[in-house]
Each structure stands twice: as structure tokens, then as C-alpha cells.
Point group: C2
Chain length 239, copies 2
């Protein structure tokens, strides 16, 4: 598969000719760069090196930014590595392999729900040695949206309730699950939670979410760049 | 203020002599490095440079990691730049200036609540051009915890309910607020939400949280490294 990449300057204005390159290659390069930034973020939260070493690292990082700034898309332009209609969102902050903020969570869709897997490192610490409660809520919000979509009822979150039963461990493979429990008109109810992968019967966090299917006019406002996202593409319709 | 920094190898074993250096200087260096990683994460989500430029950036990033790996703390050791009893958590994933995942949110404590401010960039995008709903939940979880602590009732989140009323814009200063509504024994109820800083009367997200004060034995298990955290330090007691 090949894609057209527009050359644009820092203000988003097109410059020069379009170039084409291999889309899988570019996606792999994006994921590798994100992976390295993720590694450095993890190391920064664990390192005890001197201020001098830290400052030297900062200087070297600063030298990398200008090359990346040479062609920036505007927020209204989809990323060329994404395929919104096909469900590819490389920069999603929970599942995006191209987003250093994302653990990232890997998602598998089932008939009436979805399951996700990830491991939270030191950068996701809340109480000393445990995962941050807000990070748990973030993982669940994303996964419940996938569950709604998997059952054929994609939508946007309207309500999310999270109960914290036990602390979520760091550096341990986690399992996040969600299952649609009710569909009433435009409203979809989903239940789910977080366990460790090793002990799927011991709930750490439990949650319920409600989603609303978008009407075409709402979809038009929220996903203005797309033809009919909620109807055709589960991933796009979820926040 | 000066601090002792233990030299440790990658497995956490002490090596060589202890060195001391200026704590504010080291904190500044940590925040600067995190800020640069945050800038690069933001650029990665916006850049349209070629795979070759991306790969070259990755190669240069890889050269930075070994120096940071030279002295790593173990998860059980507090970071030397932190002051858990004094409420300094540089690597918190929501408010930590030293954590590239954090926007970071700036928090001000009041008599019966707290307010936070941050701006979400492209890396926090959920639906195209809007903030991720899970990120909103993460900001709120943290801020409601500060609100509970500000009122003199610090604890850990037991329940969090979030209602999404309007999409949260990117690249716009946001205001996150929380106020304690009820204290019953060990249970603290907090209400709050997200607005833009410019329109504090237009709710984008509203939320309710319940927190539980930790009993000393629970605090001992969760904050085992500390003497009596929940009683003396609001920030430490919240996830």
C-alpha cells in the first residue's frame, strides 16, 4: 500500500511536490520512534543519574525536534499514517503504538465485547508502587468503547462509573475487559473491569459505561472529516 | 537543600560512594528533560516528515538511553527528587513536571476544594480534534483527590462517576475543579468537573468521586515507605 504525503511547512501550508512512500514502512517508523520516547519516559521516572547527565540528555533531545518540525499537519488534517475509516488510530493516547503516552493497550474484539492487554510501567504510578486510579479509568473508557463497537453499536461515552476494589499493580500484565449488557435505542450499556492477566477472576477495578450512538448530524460535527464514521467504523466513533 | 544520591547499577545494587548535589537543581533538570520528551511526543503526533527522518530521530534517541540507565532506583525506593511527606511527586502521571505523560496539570488548593489548570495537546486526542474521554477522567480523578485533601480529608478513590456533557477541546486552557460535599466517618464525597478556563460556567464534563481515608494498617500496606502519610500529607494519600 502506498500513500501520498503532503509536504507542509510549520504553518500547514503545502510546499513543494507530494512524495509517496510505503505506508507500512512509515507506520513502523512512527511506532519505533514512539517506542523509544516511551522507553526514555520510563527511564526518566526511574533514573538517579546526576543533574549534569540529565541536562546533557536534554541538550541532545533538543537537537532532534527541528527535523520533526519541518512538516507539521494542522489539527484538522488526519495523520497520513491513520486510516479513520479502517480503524487505524496510531496516535490514540491509550492504544496508539505511535503515541508515547499510551502503554499501549492491545485490543481484541469479540462478538459481544472486547478484551485489552497492557502493562503499566513506573510512569503510570499513583500511590507509591501502584497504578494511578485515573490511568485505570482511562484504560477502561477506551476498552468499553471498543466493547460497544464490537457488538455493532459504536458510540461516544456519555457516562462512566468506576469502582476501585484493589490497587492495580505496576510491571504486571493486566487484562481489561468489557461486555455489552443492554441496547436501548441509541443508548448502549457496557460493563467491564481490570484484572491481572494471571488472575482474571480477581477484580481490581470494575466499571459501567453508557454510550450514545451519534445521529448523522452529530457525527458530522464531531467527525467532520469523514463520510459516515459511526455507521461504518467502530474505532472512529469512540473517544 | 542538599540530598544524597545513591549510585546504583541497573539491578539496583549500590555501587561506589554516595554523591550529594543540589536538590532544586536536580529537580529543574528532571523537569527540563521531561518537558523536552513532552515536546517530542507532541511533535510525533503532528509531524509528517519521511520515514527516513523518523528513523534517524529514533537512532539519536537510542543513544541517550544508556546514560540514564547507569543508575536506576528500584520501584520500592522513592525517587530522590520526590518528597512524599512534603507532597512533592515529580513523576505523577497527571501533575508531575517530571513525567512526560502528564500535561502537566497545575493545582491550587482552596479551603474546601481545589482547582487545576492544563492544556491538552494533540497527544491527548480521542475523537478527531477533541480530547480523549479517558484523559478527562484521569484529570478529574487526580483533581478530586486534591479537593478531598484540601479540605483536610485526604484518602484514596473508591468510586468515580463521570458524565460527558460536551466534547473537551484541544489546545485550549482548561479548568478542572473539585469541592468536598460531604464527610461521613471515613467516607468523603467530592463533586467536580471540567470547563474551559475562558468559560467556567459551561460544564464540559461533570463528576462525582468518593474517597476513603486510610486506616493506619491500610496506609502501612499502601505507603509502606512512610511513617503516617494519610494523616500528615494530603498529596501522598491520593492515587
Amino acid at each position: 500500500m502506498r500513500t501520498a504525503v503532503s509536504r507542509r511547512d510549520a504553518r500547514g501550508d503545502p510546499v513543494g511536490d507530494e512524495v509517496t512512500e510505503d505506508l507500512p514502512e512509515r507506520r513502523a517508523a512512527v511506532a519505533e520512534l514512539a517506542g523509544e520516547l516511551r522507553t526514555l519516559a520510563d527511564l526518566l521516572t526511574r533514573t538517579e543519574v546526576s543533574a549534569e547527565v540529565l541536562r546533557d540528555s536534554t541538550r541532545r533531545l533538543r537537537e532532534i525536534a527541528p527535523a520533526l518540525r519541518e512538516r507539521l499537519r494542522t489539527p484538522a488534517e488526519p495523520a497520513s499514517v491513520d486510516d479513520l475509516m479502517g480503524g487505524v488510530r496510531m496516535f490514540n493516547p491509550v492504544i496508539g503504538a505511535g503515541n508515547p503516552i499510551a502503554p499501549p493497550m492491545r485490543v481484541e474484539m469479540g462478538a459481544d465485547g472486547a478484551e485489552g492487554w497492557c502493562t503499566l510501567g513506573q510512569a503510570y504510578e499513583g500511590p507509591p508502587m501502584w497504578g494511578h486510579g485515573g490511568v485505570s479509568a482511562m484504560l477502561i473508557d477506551q476498552l468499553l468503547g471498543h466493547a460497544a463497537a464490537a457488538s455493532g453499536h459504536p458510540g461516544v461515552t456519555t457516562d462512566l462509573s468506576v469502582r476501585y476494589r484493589r490497587p492495580v499493580p505496576l510491571d504486571v500484565p493486566l487484562r481489561i475487559w468489557g461486555r455489552v449488557t443492554e441496547v436501548q435505542g441509541r443508548r448502549i450499556s457496557v460493563t467491564g473491569g481490570i484484572t491481572t492477566a494471571a488472575e482474571p477472576d480477581v477484580p481490581l477495578v470494575v466499571a459501567e459505561g453508557r454510550f450514545a450512538r451519534l445521529r448523522p448530524d452529530q457525527a458530522g460535527r464531531m467527525f467532520g472529516r469523514l463520510a459516515s464514521p459511526a455507521a461504518t467504523n467502530p474505532d472512529v466513533a469512540h473517544d
